[in-house]
């Protein structure tokens, strides 16, 4: 067992973990933050995407021990004071989800994308979300949602790209 200390969604957790425990299982099973989903465990579907120290990462390809000392945001931590993040707002508004299984990862990935590029073209969105699979939407409305979120955020959402 290895002792780790991780800040997740603004709260610090101290835990002893098995060195082989995947970060995604740490989040889902230890911290019961089940919003982060698992679609493959091999870094290919993006359902498990989170933010770690400001970077977009797939939590199935990180060990919990690698997260020691880091600060993590999951889908549960994205909205602030009960107000949806513009991306959450936009996915809802533009029907960017159907079954919703890819959605937390998709939103977290899109968040990283908009931070780097606040006004992406359709092609930039499509390429930026390459690491995330959705079987339901054909991506059509996901693209629309990200475009709309970018608009909302440019229109002066105080949170900016965060």
């Amino acid at each position: 067992m290895t002792h780790i200390s991780v800040e997740v969604n603004g709260k610090t957790y101290e835990r002893d973990v098995d060195p082989r425990l995947l970060l995604v299982h740490f989040l889902r099973e230890e911290l019961e933050l089940t919003g982060t989903n698992i679609g493959c465990e091999t870094s290919l579907c993006g359902a498990c995407t989170i933010h770690m120290d400001g970077k977009t990462v797939k939590s199935c390809t990180q060990l919990a021990v690698q997260a020691d000392g880091s600060s993590i945001t999951t889908i549960e931590g994205l909205s602030t004071d009960g107000k949806l993040h513009p991306l959450q707002e936009a996915f809802w508004e533009k029907h960017g989800l159907q079954c919703g299984y890819c959605t937390p990862g998709m939103i977290m990935a899109a968040c990283g994308l908009l931070e780097d590029n606040p006004d992406p073209s359709e092609q930039q969105i499509r390429h930026g979300l390459k690491g995330n699979l959705c079987r339901c939407t054909g991506y059509h409305n996901i693209v629309k949602a990200v475009q709309y979120a970018a608009e909302l955020m440019r229109a002066g959402n105080p949170e900016g790209g965060k």
């Binding site: 089940t34 919003g35 809802w92 029907h95 919703g100």
Partner: protein, 785 residues
């Protein structure tokens, strides 16, 4: 006020899903829960000499290891049945854990229970199974050849069924007198469904009550409960509760009754504690039923004017190693019956041979049988156009069933209730600017460089399978009606209980719209419950694009019954006769006197107080319906793919995709469009990228997402949609199905476009998926490169 029926209101499903609060099966945890992991055969065909579980059992943290022998000893049936019977079909038993022979890579042989999922996985590696490998066959046509390894003693030559539809003599007679005969050999590629959520089950058996509760990734909890009870566990049906929490997509793969979920239940009954099993992606790809995998020879006869005289189709359909729940239905009644397409064809004959191979069982994947049929006929139409020197548009127009010929009886059992195919085609042509495209194509051909291709698919779909008596006569061991209950509470708010079971389709929203529209109340005052056998009346679930047409209709009929009862009570309170009381926008009043009215809320309260009800009227205000549709519904439309092929590399670049669909009346346009988008993407993926490939030893070479190309965002384009509206004449909503149209239409549109682009090489047909390598080779083998 805008009508709620037909408006794009936002989905009420979404707030929990976009915040991570939605609960899927693997999110659930129960106290004292054990984790199950399944030991699977690495061989495609082998005898099991012995299974040694001692090392696994001895591992710290392992609770138990069970094999098929343990299930036998427990007296539990431990098999999964098939739900569709064809004449003379051979039905080999399908034990949930194999104890004598394994027949595909992934066949389950043992199960490990441990305190956490890592331990369970460790123990799987310690189970020692001694296999005696046998010869392997994977191809659906080759498996019937002499000398092929035999899978089941029950099925000589590996043939499960040999099925036919249509008039063979009449069809055979059409060919000798035909001016043109076109022939095509098609290998319809095998697909893996790839819902992003892998299958999972959490089973909890309560000994003291003899009650089993199962949360599982199900498209149809009542079917799962029924088959668990009837065939697999031997528990009484009323002692089983199946719950489908949030389900992360199905695409047909979560209809079926699989061994794994049964194993989880049985283990919970043995251990007297909750047991959770969740598939890894690899397991999902090895064990979720696959789709398609047909080997087909098809011929079309035409007269000198391009009118079709006859169509003859022979297909070997891969059933995999065992018959899955609805496996036999797919290549037969979902495939043969659709071979008339949108065309008036005087003679059709179809022969389908379902065969066993050492591969994962094959069953429904989005579209199920209908994409295969559409592909055959739409490819032949293009070949015929080429042969006759006609434009692909023109040959289709010449053969369309005329709008005044409905109801139209096809030669393959279906009676199309309605249709008008010209307008959808016209609109699609207008949207792509067809004339300009053709001119541009000509221009480019002269220039060299990338080749432009335009492909059409004028398709029809038959969905919302019906009526129950007919499907029963065709072999269904299931009904195809749906239940819907509308319960009005004393305050006038409403809860709807439906046997449909959404997994992304948005029924909570759409079904509330149906009820709100009918009852004239705010949609926010309607709650929809589904996916729990203890809460909703028996129903058959969500698949086959049936939920709006059948499930929605059940709800509409119940709402109407509520109004009728409300009218009785209102007439009594208004001291009028029932015939004089009208119901408009949520109010009952005497015709011509809207000022004195009783709202639905008033009536709901009175119905529950029951202080002053008309004689003979029972208290309460709710109604339940079991709606059995009179016929299938028949969505149709035109899809056009515009793409570029690079002759240097064989690469295809999709430029535009236009779809004009007729799905009847539309309840929520935003949701309907979303369904179409997803379907199109799935079908384009079949055409260009996806294929499950087995090697000669029956190893699945595409078992990971790394090798199996589920499309990523940058591989697709935004789709251009429009619709025509021809309401379904036989259901109360006038709606048809929408979930599968895209998957049915698009493979043919894309392949037709690629073949169109490659015209100058004399290439007539290429099998899907159209990978750059395949196209490049075809170009180089054409002798014209």
């Amino acid at each position: 006020m805008a009508r709620v029926f037909g408006s794009s209101i936002k989905r009420r499903e979404d707030p929990s899903l976009i915040t991570g609060a939605g609960q899927y099966t693997d999110d659930l945890k129960l106290p004292n829960m054990a984790y199950a992991a399944i030991v699977r055969s690495p061989h495609a065909h082998a005898r099991i000499r012995s299974i040694d579980t001692s090392k696994a059992t001895a591992l710290d943290g392992v609770t138990a290891v069970f094999t098929g022998e343990d299930i036998k000893k427990s007296g539990t049936p431990g098999v999964v049945p098939v739900g569709w019977l064809l004449p003379d079909m051979k039905i080999p038993p399908h034990p949930v854990l194999a104890s004598e022979t394994v027949r595909y890579v992934g066949d389950a042989v043992a199960v490990v229970l441990a305190e956490d999922r890592y331990r369970a996985q460790d123990a799987v590696d310690l189970v020692e199974v001694d296999y005696d490998p046998l010869a392997v066959v994977t191809n659906p046509a080759k498996t019937v050849e002499e000398g092929a390894p035999q899978l089941h003693a029950e099925a000589a030559n590996n043939i499960a069924f040999d099925w036919e539809l249509g008039d063979k003599t009449k069809t055979d007679e059409a060919f000798p007198k035909a001016a043109h005969v076109l022939k095509v050999n098609i290998r319809n590629n095998r697909l893996i469904p790839q819902a992003i959520e892998p299958r999972a089950a959490l089973a909890s058996y309560d000994d003291s009550k003899g009650q089993l509760t199962v949360w599982m990734t199900s498209q149809n909890p009542h079917i799962h409960r029924l088959l668990m009870s009837l065939a697999s566990l031997g528990l009484p049906e009323h002692k089983i509760r199946v719950i489908a929490p949030e389900v992360g997509g199905g695409f047909g793969s979560k209809i079926h009754h699989y061994p794994d979920e049964v194993i989880a239940c049985w283990c919970s009954m043995q251990l007297h504690r909750p047991v959770k099993w969740t598939a890894t992606r690899t397991e999902a790809n090895l064990t979720d039923t696959h789709g398609r995998d047909h080997v087909t020879e098809a011929e079309m006869a035409l007269d000198e004017n391009g009118r079709i005289l006859g169509l003859r189709v022979k297909t070997y359909a891969n059933m995999g190693a065992y018959l899955s729940t609805f496996g036999p239905l797919v290549p037969t009644y979902l495939h043969g019956t659709l071979l008339s397409g949108e065309y008036d064809i005087p003679a059709i004959y179809c022969n389908v041979i379902g065969t066993f191979t050492n591969t994962t069982p094959v069953d429904t994947v989005r579209g199920a049988g209908r994409p295969e049929a559409t592909f055959i006929i739409e490819r032949l139409m293009d070949l015929a156009a080429e042969e006759l020197g006609l434009d692909p548009v023109e040959i289709r127009r010449r053969n369309f069933i005329s709008p005044d010929a409905f109801p139209y009886q096809t030669q393959v059992a279906l009676q199309y209730d309605s249709g008008n195919y010209g307008p959808a085609l016209d609109r699609a042509l207008e949207m792509v600017n067809y004339k300009n495209l053709r001119a541009e194509q000509e221009r480019r051909r002269g220039e060299g460089g990338k080749l432009l291709g335009v492909g059409l698919s004028t398709y029809i779909e038959a969905c919302g399978l019906a009526p129950s008596a007919v499907v029963g006569s065709l072999g269904a061991q299931a009904g195809q009606w749906e239940s819907g209950e509308v319960r009005v509470h004393p305050t006038g708010t409403v809860t709807v209980y439906t046997g449909s079971s959404a997994h992304g389709q948005g029924h909570h929203t759409t079904f509330a719209q149906i009820v709100a529209d009918r009852l004239g109340i705010d949609a926010d005052n309607v709650e929809v419950i589904h996916g729990d056998t203890d809460q909703v009346p028996f129903g058959w679930g969500t698949y086959g694009s049936r939920s709006a047409a059948v499930g929605g209709s059940a709800i509409a009929v119940s709402a109407d019954k509520v109004i009728e009862k409300g009218r009785q009570i209102a007439a009594h309170l208004l001291e009028a006769s029932e015939e004089d009381v009208v119901f408009e926008e949520g109010k009952f009043f005497v015709r011509g006197a809207p000022d004195k009215s009783q709202t639905l809320n008033d009536i709901a309260l009175q119905a529950h107080l029951a202080h002053n009800l008309p004689p003979g009227v029972e208290p309460g205000l709710s109604a339940t319906s079991f709606y059995d549709p009179a016929n299938f519904t028949f969505p149709f439309g035109t899809h056009i793919a515009v793409l570029e092929v690079d002759p240097e590399t064989g690469e295809v670049k999709l430029l535009r995709y236009v779809a004009v669909d007729d799905v009847g009346n539309v309840i929520n346009p935003m949701i309907v469009d979303g369904q179409i988008h997803g379907g199109i993407a799935h079908g384009i993926a079949q055409a260009l990228w996806e294929e499950a490939i087995y090697d000669g030893n029956g190893q699945l070479l595409t078992g990971e997402l790394l090798d199996y190309a589920v499309p990523k965002p940058h591989m697709l384009v935004s789709f251009e949609l429009d619709r025509t509206v021809t309401p379904c004449p036989h259901n109360p909503l006038g709606v048809k199905g929408v979930g599968e149209t895209g998957t049915i239409a698009s493979p043919a549109a894309v392949v037709n476009a690629v073949v169109d682009a490659l015209k100058s090489y004399g290439i007539k047909h290429l099998d899907m998926p159209l990978t750059p390598e395949k196209i490049w080779r075809a170009i180089h083998q054409s002798g014209r490169s």
